[in-house]
C-alpha cells in the first residue's frame, strides 16, 4: 500500500498530539501535590544512580566493632547488628526498589496488555479463554500468589520479578480488553480496515495509541505498588536474598531491636512510604489530566 495516499499533508495544520501532551503536562503540574510526587521520584532516581557518591560507607561491609550504634554525626541513622551504616543501606536500597518496580511493571504491563489486546480485538473464544484465566489470577491476592511462586523458585531478584509480573499482569489484560472492546467500534478502526490495514496494523498502529492513556495511569500507580509488594516479600524473608540492601528486609531485621533502636525499622519504612506516595501522587495527577470527564473539576 502506498503510504502517501492515506497520509494527509499536515503542513500548516496544527498538530493536535503535541499540543495535547503539552496541555496534559500543564494540567498535571499545575497542582503542587503532583510536583511533590515528581520531586520524590526524581530524588529516588538520582539516589539510585549516585548512591556511592552520597555516602563514604559500603552497604554490605560488616564491621562488628561498630555494631548497633545509635545515630551520631558519623552514622546519621546509626548502624545495624553487623555495623553497617543504616543510611547507606537505605540509599542503596533505592536501586533494588527501582529495578524491581520498573522491570516487573514493564514486563507484566507489556504481556498483560498484549493479552488484553488479543482478547478485546478478536472477542469470541479468544476473549473467553484469556479473560477467564485473568479472573482466576485476580481471585488470588498478589502476595499469596507471589509466596507460591517464591516457594517454587526460591528467593532472589529473578523470582521476585517473575512473581510480581504474574501478580500484576491480570489488571492490565482486563483494563486493556475493556478499552479495546469499546474503541474497536470507532469509525477510525473501520476506516483503517477499509483502506486495507491488516489486524496487526489496526491493533498496534490504530488501537494501542488510542487506548493507552488509562493504561499509563495504571503503570504509574503500579510502580509504587510493585515497590510496596517487593518490600512485603522481603519483609517476610522470601524475597531478595541478604546481604543485598532492601527496605523490606531492613524493616524486618530491625524488628528485634525495636525498643532500643527503633530507627533501624522506622527509617527504611519511611523510605517505602515516601516513594510509593510519590508514584501515587504522580499517577493520580496523570489520571486527572487525562480523564476528560474530570477536566476543570479538580
Amino acid at each position: 500500500m502506498d503510504e502517501t495516499c492515506v497520509t494527509p499533508d499536515l503542513q500548516g495544520i496544527p498538530q493536535p498530539r503535541v499540543s495535547e501532551s503539552r496541555r496534559i503536562f500543564k494540567v498535571m503540574f499545575s497542582r503542587w501535590v503532583v510536583i511533590i510526587g515528581a520531586v520524590i521520584i526524581l530524588l529516588l532516581i538520582l539516589t539510585a544512580i549516585f548512591a556511592p557518591l552520597l555516602t563514604p560507607y559500603e552497604p554490605n561491609k560488616v564491621k562488628l566493632e561498630d555494631s548497633l550504634q545509635q545515630p551520631s554525626s558519623q552514622h546519621l541513622l546509626g548502624t545495624d547488628l553487623y555495623g553497617r551504616d543504616v543510611l547507606t543501606r537505605i540509599l542503596y536500597g533505592s536501586r533494588i526498589a527501582i529495578i524491581v518496580g520498573v522491570v516487573a511493571v514493564t514486563a507484566s504491563g507489556a504481556f498483560g496488555m498484549f493479552l488484553g489486546l488479543l482478547a478485546g480485538y478478536f472477542g469470541g473464544w479468544v476473549e473467553t479463554i484469556i479473560m477467564r484465566i485473568t479472573d482466576a489470577l485476580m481471585a488470588l491476592p498478589p502476595l499469596v500468589l507471589m509466596l507460591a511462586i517464591a516457594v517454587m523458585l526460591g528467593g532472589g531478584v529473578p523470582t521476585v520479578l517473575l512473581a510480581l509480573g504474574v501478580a500484576l499482569m491480570p489488571t492490565y489484560s482486563r483494563l486493556m480488553c475493556g478499552q479495546v472492546l469499546a474503541a474497536k467500534e470507532n469509525d477510525y478502526v473501520m476506516a483503517a480496515k477499509v483502506v486495507g490495514a491488516g489486524n496487526i496494523r489496526v491493533m498496534f498502529r490504530h488501537l494501542v495509541p488510542n487506548v493507552f492513556p488509562p493504561l499509563l495511569v495504571l503503570i504509574t500507580l503500579d510502580l509504587g505498588f510493585a515497590i510496596l509488594t517487593e518490600a512485603s516479600l522481603s519483609f517476610l524473608g522470601i524475597g531478595i536474598n541478604p546481604p543485598t540492601a532492601t527496605w523490606g528486609a531492613m524493616v524486618s531485621d530491625g524488628q528485634r531491636y525495636l525498643l532500643t533502636h527503633p530507627v533501624l525499622s522506622f527509617t527504611p519504612g519511611l523510605a517505602i512510604v515516601l516513594v510509593v506516595l510519590g508514584f501515587n501522587l504522580v499517577g493520580d495527577g496523570l489520571r486527572d489530566a487525562l480523564d476528560p470527564r474530570l477536566r476543570g473539576r479538580i
Partner: protein, 314 residues
C-alpha cells in the same frame, strides 16, 4: 433473573476450575524436585524414590491432577511434610482466626472509608477534603507490616496500653481478645480505609455531575436529600462491586499482620509453609482463598443483578 444467576454460577465454577489448575501447576512445574527440597540434598536415592511414590509424583501429571481433585472432593488436601498432619485440618483450625480479623477489618474500613469518601466528595475543595485526601494518599502508600511495627512501638512498648502480640479467642476471653486484635485490625484496615475513601470520593464526584442529580436539585429538593438519597446510592455501586478485590486485598494483608503480631491464622501458616517448602499447605491455602474471593464476587454480582436490572441484562 434465574438465567442470570445460572450464567454467573457457571462462570464462577469455570474460574474455580482454573484456580485449581493454577494452584496445581504452580507447584508442579517446579524446576528441581520438591522431594529433594523436602528431604534435603543428602537424601538417598531410595528415600527420594519412596517419597515420590508416596506423594504420587511418579505418575503422569494429568493423573496427579485428577487424583488431587478427587481427594479434594473427599476433603483430603494431603499431608503436611513439616507438621505431619492433614493440611485440611491445619487450615480449618486457623481459619476462624483469619476470618474474624478480616471480617472486623472489612466492616470497619468499609464504614469509615465510605463516610470519609462521601464527606470528602460533598465538601470538595474544603479543608476537610484536603485532610481526608492527604490521609488517603498516605494510607495507600503505607506498608501494613511497618504500620504494625509503629503500633507495637507506640502503643505496646512505649505507652504499654496494648499487648504487642498474640491471640486469644473472643469466646474464651472477650476483653483480652479485643485488646489483642485492636492493633492488627487497625494495621489491616488503614490501607483499606484509604482505598475505599478514594473510590467513594471519585465515584461521588462523578455521580454529582449526572443529569438526574441536576434534575433533583432543580426541582427544589434539599441539598442533603439530593446528596445522600439520590447521589450516594448510585455512587456506592462501583465501591461495593469491588468487594471481591477488597477481600483479596485484606487476605493479602493478613499474611503480613499475622506475621508481625504472631497470630496463629492462615496467613502465618502460609508464610511458614512457604519458608519450609511445605507445598501442599501452600496449594491448599491458594485454593481456599481463591474460592472465597470467587464466591464473594458471585455474591456481589447476584445481589446487584437483583437490585439493578441494567447489570442483569448486560
Amino acid at each position: 433473573m434465574a438465567s442470570f444467576i445460572v450464567r454467573r454460577l457457571i462462570q464462577a465454577v469455570i474460574v474455580i476450575f482454573l484456580v485449581t489448575i493454577i494452584s496445581f501447576l504452580l507447584l508442579h512445574i517446579i524446576p528441581g524436585d520438591p522431594v529433594i527440597r523436602v528431604l534435603g540434598m543428602h537424601a538417598s536415592q531410595a528415600q527420594v524414590a519412596q517419597l515420590r511414590h508416596e506423594l504420587g509424583l511418579d505418575m503422569p501429571i494429568y493423573m496427579q491432577y485428577g487424583n488431587w481433585i478427587l481427594n479434594l472432593f473427599h476433603g483430603d488436601f494431603g499431608k503436611s511434610f513439616i507438621y505431619h498432619e492433614d493440611v485440611a485440618k491445619l487450615i480449618l483450625e486457623r481459619f476462624p482466626v483469619t476470618f474474624y480479623l478480616t471480617f472486623l477489618a472489612l466492616t470497619i474500613s468499609t464504614i469509615i472509608g465510605i463516610m470519609a469518601g462521601v464527606i470528602s466528595g460533598v465538601k470538595r475543595g474544603t479543608f476537610i477534603d484536603s485532610f481526608i485526601t492527604l490521609f488517603a494518599n498516605i494510607g495507600v502508600a503505607v506498608p501494613t507490616f511497618w504500620l504494625g511495627l509503629l503500633g507495637i512501638y507506640l502503643f505496646g512498648l512505649q505507652l504499654g496500653w496494648l499487648p504487642v502480640e498474640g491471640w486469644t479467642s473472643p469466646l474464651d476471653d472477650f476483653w483480652q481478645s479485643t485488646r489483642q486484635v485492636i492493633m492488627p485490625v487497625a494495621a489491616l484496615a488503614v490501607p483499606n480505609i484509604a482505598i475505599v475513601a478514594r473510590q467513594t470520593r471519585s465515584s461521588m464526584l462523578e455521580t454529582i455531575h449526572q443529569d438526574y442529580i441536576r434534575t433533583a436539585t432543580s426541582k427544589g429538593l434539599a441539598q442533603n436529600v439530593v446528596f445522600y438519597k439520590h447521589a450516594l446510592r448510585n455512587a456506592l455501586i462501583p465501591v461495593v462491586t469491588l468487594l471481591g478485590v477488597t477481600v483479596a486485598f485484606l487476605i493479602g494483608g493478613e499474611v503480613l499482620t499475622e506475621t508481625v503480631f504472631n497470630i496463629p491464622g492462615i496467613g502465618r501458616l502460609l508464610v511458614r509453609a512457604a519458608l519450609d517448602n511445605d507445598y501442599l499447605i501452600v496449594q491448599g491455602i491458594i485454593l481456599i482463598v481463591g474460592v472465597i474471593v470467587v464466591f464473594t464476587n458471585l455474591f456481589v454480582d447476584i445481589t446487584y443483578g437483583w437490585i439493578d436490572p441494567r447489570i442483569r441484562y448486560r
